[in-house]
């Protein structure tokens, strides 16, 4: 499989905290890759490091057969990455539509953006009805849809999602994962950080397991589900 993103020994440090220790990973074209791990394992730091949001050191970062090792976040986003961040980070003082437009900040093709926004409204009727309202009136689920919609509008080839199911009801979680599968069918590769391990493993084609900042395992989801240690550590009895 041709590799869309490949990261070699990425490290993230916050002062004395060593959040990610030399993690290497790759995501293939059109693949769904999950990153699992306990709280504080460094999953968010990993995603933020890949996008260049936190000071990271890495051997090499290649994306879409380009070397982005020293690139700035805008350059990485323009190259085709988009992050749906932990906690959604919707801009509350902007309207729903302005939030979507912020997703397309680096794009210059305004008419195409316009069309894609309309298409997005067709997909999320709740957002369409609230397009002119401040984003602060949205419910948690609507905010998550907005965050994903904002990511889609960057027209990425790889979407990094940081715990998108956080705080959603079981029903909405189902809907979210259906949406992710749909986006993937349209050709979008996903790098998915999830606490909802079972769901994530059902969706992904490959998964990494992080522990204390390091990637300790990588396998097909089937194999990971069979791994007693992993099941005990992350799956427990919950679904």
């Amino acid at each position: 499989m041709s590799s869309l993103l490949s990261v070699e020994s990425l490290s993230v440090r916050y002062g004395r905290v060593h959040a990610v220790r030399g993690a290497s990973l790759s995501v293939g074209e059109g693949e769904i890759v999950a990153v699992l791990g306990a709280n504080g394992a460094g999953k968010s730091s990993l995603l933020n490091g890949i996008l260049g949001l936190v000071p990271a050191h890495h051997g090499a970062l290649r994306f879409a057969s380009r070397d982005l090792t020293g690139a700035s976040p805008p350059q990485r986003i323009a190259a085709g990455m988009a992050l749906v961040p932990e906690g959604r980070r919707i801009v509350m003082s902007l309207t729903v539509e302005e939030n979507l437009l912020m997703g397309a900040y680096l794009r210059r093709d305004a008419p195409a953006v316009r069309k894609e926004i309309e298409a997005l409204y067709a997909r999320f009727p709740n957002l369409a009805a609230r397009r002119a309202l401040l984003a602060s009136v949205l419910s948690g689920g609507e905010q998550q849809m907005l965050a994903i919609g904002r990511g889609i509008l960057a027209r990425p080839r790889l979407m990094l999602l940081d715990e998108p199911s956080l705080g959603l009801s079981p029903l909405l979680v189902q809907e979210l994962f259906r949406l992710l599968a749909e986006l993937n069918r349209e050709g979008l590769a996903l790098l998915l950080v999830e606490q909802n391990t079972r769901q994530a493993l059902r969706l992904c084609t490959r998964a990494y397991v992080m522990e204390l900042g390091a990637i300790v395992m990588q396998d097909r989801p089937r194999a990971l589900l069979d791994d007693q240690r992993l099941v005990a550590a992350y799956l427990g009895g919950s679904r």
Partner: protein, 351 residues
């Protein structure tokens, strides 16, 4: 007589308003009180005097004087705000104050400390409306000020850069993850702020035909008061605050004499803030032009809350005269608390 005073005070007020807009832009977007702005005001005023005395054509003089504000604003950004990410938050504040003093002293060395008379480059045309005299330059000045703010409003509300600025105002980290090149957008705030204050300096010099190296200091407190009165981060509020201070100042002089001016102005400021317990913009324009929102607590220090609610720093005033709101004081912003009172907005997800 009354109308004449009103016309005069609107002119003065529009100068204050321009300064207040520059202050409010820096506070609203960057959470930064840019003390160098009055220095730019003064440099523009003195430059106007210098150029006009040297018989430079007045449109060119205006361009140079106003342009100097943009350039110096950029210079200040390099040495103040740019350091902010790597230093304690008060360092840029002090550095920008140092710039004010630096500009003042450079001008003192170059042109001395005298109050200079600015030669008028054109015959003053004035209109008579009954007993009221409206000088055309005054009118043009006022129109320029309003036009500049209207343009700024469009920039902030309708353009891509404006959306980027408003995102930075709420949460710089979110702006970065969406691809806003923050380091390239932030200087814009300083340039625009510099242009606004310099426009104020130019209009002041032309209309009052005077300039001095100390004119910045005198205007600084009025500009900041106008900004506070208008609700920090609210550009139309800043206009309102500036005009109001202009009116009060002019009428205090007529009614109580020149010595009572400051009592009038700052007494009014205190009275308004105490009575309304909020800035004007909250009551009159439910803050659609307000730049920042309370959810920025993620990134903004609590100093912001204190700033936005000037009296929150005095504990007993918090409970007196009455509690008008049950909402938390953290991250208070005038428009937002109005919006909250008007409609129950949902809280952001915890975590």
């Amino acid at each position: 007589m009354l109308e004449q005073q009103l016309v005069n005070s609107l002119m003065l007020g529009s100068v204050y308003a321009l300064i207040a807009v520059a202050f409010t832009l820096a506070i609203g977007v960057l959470n930064f009180l840019n003390f160098s702005l009055p220095g730019l005001f003064m440099v523009a005023g003195m430059l106007t005097w210098f150029l006009l005395r040297a018989h430079v054509a007045w449109p060119l003089a205006a361009l140079l004087a106003i342009g100097s504000g943009g350039l110096l604003g950029l210079l200040v950004e390099r040495f103040t705000y740019r350091l902010m990410s790597r230093s304690a938050h008060f360092v840029p504040l002090v550095t920008s104050m140092a710039f004010l003093i630096l500009f003042e002293n450079l001008v003192l060395i170059a042109w001395g400390s005298d109050l200079q008379r600015v030669p008028l480059p054109f015959e003053t045309v004035s209109w008579r409306l009954g007993p009221t005299v409206i000088a055309v330059p005054q009118l043009i000045g006022l129109a320029c000020a309003v036009l500049a703010v209207a343009l700024l409003d469009v920039l902030l509300k309708r353009t891509r850069i404006g959306r980027g600025l408003r995102t930075i105002a709420e949460d710089p980290q979110t702006a970065v993850l969406l691809g806003v090149p923050v380091a390239r957008v932030v200087p814009l705030v300083f340039v625009v702020g510099g242009l606004f204050t310099a426009l104020g300096g130019f209009l002041f010099a032309i209309n009052y035909q005077q300039a001095s190296p100390f004119m910045g200091e005198e205007i600084a407190l009025k500009g900041i008061s106008a900004m506070v009165l208008g609700g920090m981060g609210n550009i139309w509020g800043a206009i309102l605050g500036g005009l109001l201070i202009g009116v009060v100042e002019t009428f205090s002089i007529t009614w109580f004499g020149a010595r009572a001016v400051d009592i009038g102005v700052y007494g009014l400021l205190l009275a308004i803030l105490l009575c309304l317990r909020t800035a004007l913009s909250c009551r009159w324009s439910p803050g659609s032009s307000t730049l920042a929102s309370p959810h920025s607590s993620r990134s903004a220090p609590t100093a912001r809350a204190t700033f936005r609610r000037p009296m929150a720093c005095i504990p007993w005033l918090r409970r007196w005269p009455r509690s008008s709101s049950v909402h938390s004081w953290d991250g208070w912003s005038p428009s937002r608390s109005c919006a909250r009172a008007a409609s129950i907005s949902r809280l952001p997800p915890s975590r």
